[in-house]
């Protein structure tokens, strides 16, 4: 009699092991499917990024991933289509990927500043000033997302020296004239080209 009982206990244990194994198989297969879907999406994204880098003018959906948006925005920036790139970077900033968003703002700042510099080389000051201001705003957005972003600090410094805009600090300077040395830099933008 006890034999039968121990047998039924053994059978119960075997069934439990079988059920457990079946659950593990199903769970692992579900994970595999999820990973497969993710990998397929990533591979598709990478194909789009490679095509944009190769210079193909591929449109990008609004719900595309952050990397794809950055690739599209960069494609537009290097072709000087900044007004199309700007909303893409704003969209990218709302994707919740701070590294990609910081890269987007930084690249946009670079594109704006490069455009401003090319205006200044042709001594067109009026169109240059707003580009410098927009570049500064873009670098600030990048640095807000990543305060340790050294390239953004450097380029923001270039932009800030080009057009200085610290009214309250300048006022400070006027109040204590004997403390501050003569201002070398004015509010006017310009390329320092050495003494005449």
């Amino acid at each position: 009699m006890s034999h039968t009982r121990s047998f039924s206990r053994a059978r119960f244990a075997r069934r439990a092991v079988t059920a457990l194994l079946a659950i593990v198989v199903l769970g692992a297969l579900a994970c595999l499917i999820v990973q497969g879907v993710r990998l397929a999406a990533l591979a598709r994204d990478n194909a789009t990024i490679a095509a944009l880098a190769a210079g193909r003018d591929l449109p990008v959906a609004v719900d595309a991933s952050a990397r794809v948006l950055l690739a599209r925005a960069h494609f537009l920036m290097v072709r000087d289509r900044l007004d199309e790139a700007h909303p893409l970077v704003e969209l990218l900033a709302r994707k919740g990927d701070p590294a990609q968003a910081a890269a987007g703002w930084y690249d946009l700042g670079n594109a704006r500043l490069a455009r401003a510099l090319s205006h200044l080389e042709r001594t067109q000051i009026d169109p240059a000033v707003p580009q410098v201001r927009l570049a500064k705003a873009a670098y600030r957005a990048a640095l807000t997302l990543d305060p340790q972003f050294w390239d953004a600090k450097y380029n923001l410094d270039v932009a800030l020296r080009l057009v200085r805009d610290f009214p309250e600090v300048e006022r400070d300077v006027k109040e204590e004239p004997q403390e501050a040395p003569k201002r070398v830099w004015t509010d006017l933008p310009g390329l320092p080209k050495g003494l005449p």
Binding site: T4, R11, V25, A152
Partner: protein, 338 residues
Amino acid sequence: MRCSTISRAARLVLRASFARAGARFAQRHSTAFALALLLAMPAAEASEVQLQAPRAFGYVVGDTLTLEADIRLDPGARLDPASLPQPRKVSSWLDLVSVEITPPLGAVPAGAYRLRMTYQSFFSALEPRSLEIPPWPLTIRDGEARRTLSVPAFRFVVSPLRELVPSHGGNPMALQPDILPAPAPLGPDMKKAGLSAAVAALAALGLALAQGWRPFASGRRPLAAAAREIQRRRAEETPQAYRDALVTLHRAFDASAGRRLLKEDLGAFLEEAPALAPEREDIERLFGASRTAFFGAGIPAARSELPYADLVALSGRLARAERQMPRAALQGTVEEAP
């Protein structure tokens, strides 16, 4: 030089005369003055703010500074949540990025708080210079009374990030390069997919072994092998097929028991292999039919005793029951005491 000395002297004289006038005023209105002083003074002096300042030098454009203020309140005093600073643009070069207060300002008032304010400076210095984060007034309520407690100002020195004019020539307006869009790394997901595949494969292998699925069952589950053989030939309704089926099942029982099994030994065998016990009646019928077929009236009589269809069905049931048997018992190595 002389001019400045004279003007300083004049100023001293002026200041002295003002002080005298003030004293006269105070004497004349001494009661009112004391009252005004009393009103201006807070009820208790215990509440205070102490600034845990970070380093005050060596900041470049884009750096963050975290000011921590330890706020100690009188018993019964409460910090007005509306007077806490909010993340905002403080000035053209200073952002207040985040404000945290611990413990959170909730229903339960605490005697001490720590206010953590993270600022980000965007001042691009041409030479080291001192800048100030302005003080922030906090409102303390003690019943009807209100007073202001100030988080003190903080001065720090910003430094230039780069040379004013490049000393080795070169373009002072040269920018750092763009961050190029990079493809998404597939490695982590590949690793996870590989891991899930390996786990699935291992668990499936374990399941196959536990269930005795082919090819993991070959030879080790003789009744299952016999059942497959019999199932394969079940369409043949010939006496030869019936005979072969009986032989096959006998061989399987022999293999399962690890010895030659006769009808008389069934009782002992079924104690060893209790998984087959529910089929005891049919197994006995099978052994009876086999005796009739080989040593008695022959196959037709045996077929009336145990029809071919029943034999086929029994072989299937035995194979299923065999799966419940522990593997050691199948090899006949265990001599279990009843």
